[in-house]
Amino acid sequence: MDAALSLRVPLCGLPCAEMRIAPAPSGGVRASGGCPAGRVAAALPIADEAKPAVDGRPVSEAQAVAAAAALLLEARSPFVFGLSMSSCGTARRAAAIARRLGGAIDVEGAAALENDLVALRTFGLASATFGEVRHRADVVLLWRCDPRPDHPHLMPPRLPGDASAERLFILVPLAGETAGGAHAGGATQMLPVADGGDLDALLALRALAARREAGANVSGGMAGGGALSDLHRAAAALRRARYAAMVWDAAATRGPAGPAIAATLALLARDLNVQHRAAARPLGAGGNVAGAMAAILSDCGHPRAVGFSGGSPREAPEAFGAAPMLDGGADALLLIGARSIAVSRQTASDGHSGPRPTHAVVIGPRLPEGCSDPEVFIPTAIPAFSEKGLWLLADGVPVPMRAPLPSTRPSEAEVFDRLIGRVAASGKPASPRRGA
């Protein structure tokens, strides 16, 4: 890259402002604009000089692909992981190879959405795209998140097209914060909730919004550390809303109470739809996690943590999720578009790292954190920057990544096609597809 470029690469998974990237004096890339998550992703070091390698020795790409295929075919329990920074097309190819190998596949970051998914499957979800929330929501409940400072255009203080319509934000600040994003502008009604008090406060809020007694969750005028008077005020605002939105990020539904918190947020939106309109909108897990999960879902019938070893694809996070597979469940890893395997392994074992899988193949622009010496490394172009492809925002809206930067490397998709061809040529039968 010789000069600065403006590009729209919503690496945060949200509708994001344009980012400007320019060559850095160090030889890397300096990013401005966009949002912090996007700038971090854009500024990650890219080893331009990296060549395909097997056991650390430079080889041709064809040799690296052959070595990767051999390694994966020999594995008893291969695991395909990553895809959070890859295109939907790459994710579809990854699912195909996992199926062919009889292994398992998971998406980096998807575990953080598991509780939301459990709630959705149990109760459903009245939801909306970010564009609809921006366009219609006159009251927005921000539960333990505030995307406004980093994404000011996501939910501006006034409804687009109606300068007189001020949007009301009800902000449950992050644990330990009191002011949250009040500086982000717009009318903000604070609703402090104690750390760990989310479920009680939400249950009370839902009850009050439905004009029921807050009931058993109230003690001393508080519910979950939230003042009942604040909860009453918030409930009244939600009831009055023509179109209310509930927004939260993955951290808000983490932990044992996570499914219940996600369910209560969803049920609050469902209740409000009886009188007016309301939508619950999780912010997702960033990158192209939504796109990767969608690609795997349409290919396998399941969005994540899918194993093919029993014939038909089976979704089982406890067996095929990143945590158990990276913590010893897999004997070979195929890492593609993964940012880190260290985090997932720590998540797996509460800080205790299990035995490292025997083998690792990395396909992507860089080595993921926690995997510095893979058996096979096939460097690729950088998805979104120098590899075109389709990504999905967290609300499922597609974004074509134009890839304005040149690259001399192959794309992830091209490498995958060659690898799939090599694996298919081995004669190992593909696992049957679901319903086949």
Partner: protein
């Protein structure tokens, strides 16, 4: 997916049903050269022996939901539905092909998600496909329709089809979905007026398939009166009315639900410009998904089943609710009978087609059993006898003697839909047609016959044999380039479009417009001649 190959084959000595050319089972050959049907082939051409078998054009499903955000969301919401109701993309193509279907249209794609829908459809193997684009609740379209600015509306509709690589405009409960989103009960303009405006504007585009209309009142007791009013509003227009079964009820409450199919069928019989599909219900679990979000909300409230709603840009979105159609419950039983009555009372099979509105009325894999119901009166009467005891009071099915012939089945499953879609190369075996051929056993029960084709040729290539997929080719994506989608429309609309899409925070206009290169195997279907 393998590169599409076009094959050369003589399908010899079969009993050929090709309604478009009047062949009703006469023994003969079907010759395919380089993927297209030809009059004859040299004697040395490869042969598929079809003696004793039934030969038909490949099936054409003109209303199904197989890809896009609604189907994806349904997969997320209802993992318990599994592969039966919501097969994966690959399995969808394979199941259609095993039954002898070779062309499928996804009937409701929101404009902003057309890009991802096309990507998914490209992953559906073998079958040719296309999408209908939701536009009946788009804010800009509604404003133009209400104001009677039909030229502008026409330009906008044409531009939307161009931008999304769509095949036909789709209206879903026009105006009312957007009103529901605003929290209002009623759209300010009468639905009949809106329908007329969209029909007039769409007519100017000379599309091969006209306005594809999902009327108001989906699933509501007593909706037949509204259906008749709205169809009457389009009596002088080309229009396709979809899943009419869900719009053909009498009664005031669910408990009072009854069929008014005879009146709907009578209207259709009297109006030869209209076409329709049935949206037949089959007993068993289903997943209902529809861009008619308020109707889906009502279903959720009525049944208590879980509900997923996704409001999206352009007034498009979806509501999803799992459902069970049960013979022992009056509502489901009436719905089942209503669909069959429509099929049996519409006198012209060229204008009433077999669909289940997959997966709403049931899975498309149920087509064979529905075919048996149509062809075998005793079979459907046995089901009627086992259904809810009050069903017979609520419908006239018991008195209908008609049994479909194989020729009529060929019309309602391929020749008719192909003609309604304006696909000249589909649904027939005349010279120049695509070499899409389904070969079935000629004896035995129709359900078994149509469940598994003996052989299926796609573009002259054998792709299925005795229920096994033997080759996976890549199907085409059909789309239209309306005459007004060019510079004139673009110049006039550009500012408003930019405002429309960017102001609502959806996407830059450049991201919204789908370039033809984004489709794996695109094929433009031309507009109709000006005189049409």
């Amino acid at each position: 997916m393998a590169t599409p190959a076009s094959g050369t084959i003589r399908i010899r000595g079969g009993s050929v049903f090709d309604p478009a050319s009047g062949r009703r089972g006469e023994t003969g050959d079907v010759c395919i050269q380089d993927g297209r049907v030809v009059a004859s082939l040299p004697s040395g051409a490869p042969v598929f022996e079809a003696r004793g078998l039934v030969v038909m054009p490949g099936g054409v499903d003109l209303h199904s939901h197989i890809a896009g955000p609604a189907v994806q969301s349904a997969r997320l919401l209802c993992p318990e539905a599994g592969g039966a109701c919501l097969p994966t993309l690959q399995e969808t193509g394979r199941r259609y092909v095993r039954m002898g279907y070779t062309t499928v249209f996804d009937a409701a794609i929101s404009p902003i998600r057309a890009r991802v829908a096309h990507t998914e459809l490209d992953a559906v193997p073998i079958v040719d496909k296309g999408i209908f684009v939701l536009m009946g609740n788009d804010d800009l379209a509604l404003r133009l329709a209400r104001d009677g600015r039909l030229d502008d509306l026409s330009d906008f509709m044409g531009w939307l089809l161009h931008a999304t690589r769509g095949y036909a405009p789709k209206l879903v409960n026009a105006g009312f979905v957007e009103a529901w989103r605003r929290g209002e009960e009623e759209e300010p303009v009468a639905p009949e007026e809106l329908l007329r405006a969209f029909a007039a504007a769409g007519g100017a585009l000379r599309l091969p398939h006209p306005l594809h209309v999902h009327l108001s009142g989906l699933g509501r007791p007593g909706n037949a009166a509204m259906t008749l009013r709205q169809m009457e509003a389009l009596r002088d227009s080309r229009a396709h009315f979809t899943h009419l079964q869900f719009h053909a009820y009498g009664g005031r409450t669910p408990a009072g639900l009854r069929s008014r199919a005879p009146e709907i069928a009578s209207w259709l019989n009297a109006h030869p410009r209209a076409t329709a599909d049935v949206g037949q219900v089959v007993f068993g679990p289903a997943v209902t998904l529809s861009a008619d979000a308020p109707a889906q909300h009502r279903l959720h409230r009525a049944t208590g089943r879980k509900w997923l709603n996704l409001d999206g840009e352009s007034g498009a979105g979806c509501g999803i609710v799992p459902h069970d159609y049960r013979a022992d419950r009056l509502t489901g039983a009436v719905q089942w009978a209503t669909g069959l009555e429509l099929m049996l009372l519409c006198s012209d099979p060229w204008r009433m087609f077999l669909t289940t509105d997959h997966p709403n009325g049931g899975a498309f894999a149920a087509y064979p059993v529905i075919i048996r119901m149509l062809m075998d009166r005793s079979f459907r009467e046995a089901i009627l006898a086992g259904a809810h005891p009050r069903l017979k009071e609520r419908c006239v099915l018991a008195g209908i003697a008609r049994e479909y012939t194989l020729d009529e089945i060929a019309i309602v499953t391929r020749a008719g839909p192909a003609r309604a879609l304006g696909l000249e190369r589909k649904g027939n075996l005349g010279a120049g047609a695509d070499g899409d051929v389904a070969i079935y056993r000629s004896a035995g029960d129709p359900e078994a016959t149509f469940s598994e084709a003996v052989a299926v040729f796609k573009d002259g290539v054998l792709v299925a044999r005795d229920g096994e997929i033997v080759a996976e080719t890549r199907g085409r994506t059909f789309f239209v380039e309306p005459p007004s989608s060019g510079d004139r429309a673009r110049a006039g609309l550009d500012t408003r479009l930019r405002d429309h899409f960017e102001a609502c925070g959806a996407a830059p206009l450049e991201d919204f417009v789908l370039e033809e290169e984004a489709l794996a195997r695109p094929e433009t279907v031309p507009a109709l001649p000006a005189a049409s």
